[in-house]
């Protein structure tokens, strides 16, 4: 039995193809650009190719994420919250706090020992609490987003960026540049800003696992999360795929009837 899970996010579309034992046979991540349908085809086609199976062999496809409704094929749709919790719990098998930091809205998800979501809360409508803010910031720092982490790692101190509005935060970035802050200090400040907004969402209970794309590309956010909360925060393996993997597990449930 082979199934797929697809997470159509605001920054990336991710597909995971698994077998009946929930073992990953193929995976793909493509940046979100243009129509979601095309991104879906590209990611799913690549993952199927890696798994060396065809689309017709899929017993079920579960989709999740911001643009789940755009998926051209699916047999099931599940929320990101449940998919991230399911994907994370499959790897840890215990109660935990899952922090999903994606391109859109970070979430704090409490999961009990049986893998059931007991509560979930997203960041308030605040542009500075979302991963996409780092993309905006990199534009003003005149670097590719993937360079932001290197820059932040080079900084000894952060240049604080604090605003509820990402547009005004961008102005702050420009102001900091005018005042002579280094790009590294600003990059670190931006990551700390996201960490601070996440810490305000809800209470945290050990152990804490981070999922989502931001921690894959910007581990500085997780480092800031740990240092500013004084909590032990771990990143799950392949964090960007957690939602898609969780969706694949739901697809397996469906295929098994």
């Amino acid at each position: 039995m082979i199934v797929a899970g697809v997470d159509l996010g605001t920054e990336c579309v991710k597909t995971v193809v698994v077998d009946g034992d929930a073992k990953i046979l193929g995976r793909a991540t493509v940046p979100t650009r243009g129509y979601f349908q095309d991104c879906f085809q590209e990611a799913t086609g690549t993952a199927l190719q890696e798994a060396q199976v065809s689309a017709s062999q899929l017993a079920a496809v579960c989709v999740t994420g911001f643009a789940a409704s755009c998926a051209p094929i699916s047999s099931r749709t599940m929320s990101e919250t449940l998919c991230h919790a399911r994907g994370a719990w499959h790897k840890t098998q215990g109660p935990m706090t899952v922090v999903d930091i994606g391109g859109r809205d970070p979430k704090v998800i409490h999961v009990d020992a049986r893998g059931t979501v007991t509560s979930s809360r997203s960041v308030r409508k605040c542009g500075v609490g979302i991963g996409t803010f780092l993309m905006f910031a990199s534009r003003h720092l005149d670097v590719h987003p993937t360079r932001l982490m290197d820059l932040a790692s080079s900084a000894e101190k952060a240049a604080p960026v604090g605003s509820y509005c990402s547009v005004f935060a961008e102005v702050e970035v420009i102001e900091l540049l005018r005042q002579g802050s280094t790009a590294g200090e600003i990059a670190l400040g931006c990551m700390q800003s996201i960490a601070d907004r996440i810490l305000e969402i809800d209470h945290f209970e050990d152990p804490i696992f981070v999922t989502g794309g931001v921690c894959e590309y910007f581990p500085g956010v997780v480092k800031a999360l740990a240092s500013r909360s004084a909590l032990a925060v771990e990143i799950l393996p392949e964090p960007i795929l957690t939602g898609a993997y969780g969706a694949a597990l739901f697809a397996l449930d469906q295929a098994r009837g």
Partner: protein, 424 residues
């Protein structure tokens, strides 16, 4: 705003300020000592709450709003507010509350400069909702944390005229508080002690008003930014002899400055009025910016909030009730407008600055068209600054600077008639 281009060095500070520092240090260490050594009952009181009852019963009194302001001014607020948000206190409610509860959860306090490791733990918390509902929720958090009584007055808000029936109702609530306060204090309320506390509060109020009114002179010897510091004893020592002594000292020094024609700024081209809360984390930056623009913020609603004209030792409880209701913050738009018109005339201001504090709707007076009405009736230009008392995420330095500079340019453009001509 951290690096302003157009700034000016302030005039040398007040001689009285060295006594101010001593007084504030004695206040904080005194309450802390009482809490630790159990040498006197300790109460927390809202800043315009019925503190005279506490003084008369021998309580040492701590004012958490003052702590909130210190958290803002020291910018510790930004580090700790998130702790309160995470346990369910919204970023949209009073940032004094979220700063203070966040500081408690994070075990941080700017009072460490006085040797305190935390805000002194009270035996009782006493609120009045004459300013907002948040104070009650704030105190109830600590009531639950420490299992101590939380008592208070549920007041009227948005009052047009203060009627006898309103005063009666609050007086009855004050009377009803007495047994609970006596139980914690371990003594009966001595009427003479209450009269003395009210008399001292009234004296303090009169002297503080005298200090603020010194800035009706040209040039003004005291700016709003100075006054937010100088008002410390009027807030935390109201009802004590020490507060009265301090303001005698300050009033005399201000009178000297007025007589000598010595203003707070090297040059005073324009005079402004500030309505709303201070932006504590940017107090110094804003003071420098206005000074650089040779613009003196000569008066404010905020600093006048500790002027209680109704207090009367011959009728302590009833006058306390009336004073608590006559406060600007407890009033409807009509009395607020009349008050601002009167203050604009008295202080001869060229413009009004309204601070719209995101988390303090109760002390932001631009949300129901008041600024526009005043512009029409007083013909005084109005500037609205978006910001917050403690949450600097709601404040844009660049936007504020641009707006303030543009406002002063607007006053310049209006010509000599406008410079000091708003209210001759």
């Amino acid at each position: 705003m951290a690096s302003t281009d157009r700034t000016a060095a302030p005039e040398p500070g007040f001689r009285a300020s060295s006594r101010l520092k001593e007084l504030m240090a004695e206040h904080f260490t005194g309450v802390d000592r009482a809490a630790r050594e159990k040498s006197a009952p300790v109460a927390w009181c809202t800043s315009v709450g019925p503190v005279e009852l506490l003084r008369a019963l021998g309580f040492q009194v701590f004012f958490p709003e003052n702590h909130g302001a210190l958290l803002g001014a020291s910018r510790v607020a930004g580090e700790v507010m998130g702790r309160a948000h995470a346990i369910g206190y919204s970023p949209d409610i009073c940032s004094y509350l979220t700063s203070d509860i966040g500081a408690y959860l994070a075990r941080k306090t700017p009072l460490s400069r006085y040797g305190l490791s935390a805000a002194p733990r009270p035996d009782l918390l006493l609120y009045s909702t004459n300013q907002c509902r948040e104070v009650r929720d704030w105190f109830e958090f600590y009531g639950r944390e420490w299992s101590v009584p939380v008592v208070g007055v549920t007041s009227f808000r948005d009052l047009g005229e203060v009627e006898d029936s309103h005063v009666d109702a609050i007086t009855r609530q004050l009377e009803a508080l007495v047994p609970a306060l006596e139980a914690v204090a371990g003594r009966r309320l001595d009427p003479a002690a209450l009269e003395l506390a009210v008399e001292r509060s009234r004296t303090c109020s009169d002297l503080w008003r005298q200090c603020l009114e010194a800035s009706a002179a040209r040039p003004a010897p005291l700016t709003f930014f100075d006054a937010t510091i100088q008002m410390g004893p009027a807030v935390v020592l109201r009802g004590t002899a020490e507060a009265c002594d301090y303001y005698r000292l300050l009033a005399a020094e201000l009178a000297e400055r007025v007589a000598a024609g010595r203003g707070a700024l090297p040059r005073e081209r324009f005079r402004l009025y500030w309505d709303g809360m201070p932006i504590w984390g940017r107090l110094r930056d804003l003071a420098s910016l206005f000074a650089g623009l040779e613009t003196s913020v000569v008066a404010s609603t905020y600093c006048n909030s500790w002027v209680f004209d109704a207090l009367d030792p011959r009728d302590p409880l009833r006058s306390m009730a009336r004073a608590s209701l006559e406060l600007f913050i407890a009033r409807a738009e009509g009395p607020k407008q009349r008050y601002l018109e009167r203050m604009s005339r008295q202080f001869q201001v060229d413009g009004l600055v309204f601070h719209d504090a995101r988390t303090c709707p109760n002390n932001s007076n631009v949300r129901f068209g008041l600024a526009q009405r005043l512009r029409r009736t007083s013909r005084v230009p109005v500037l609205v600054l978006d910001g917050d008392l403690n949450d600097l995420r709601c404040f844009s330095d660049e936007q504020a600077r641009t707006n303030i500079e543009a406002f002063v340019e607007q006053l310049e453009d209006a010509g000599p008639a406008a410079a000091g001509g708003g209210h001759p």
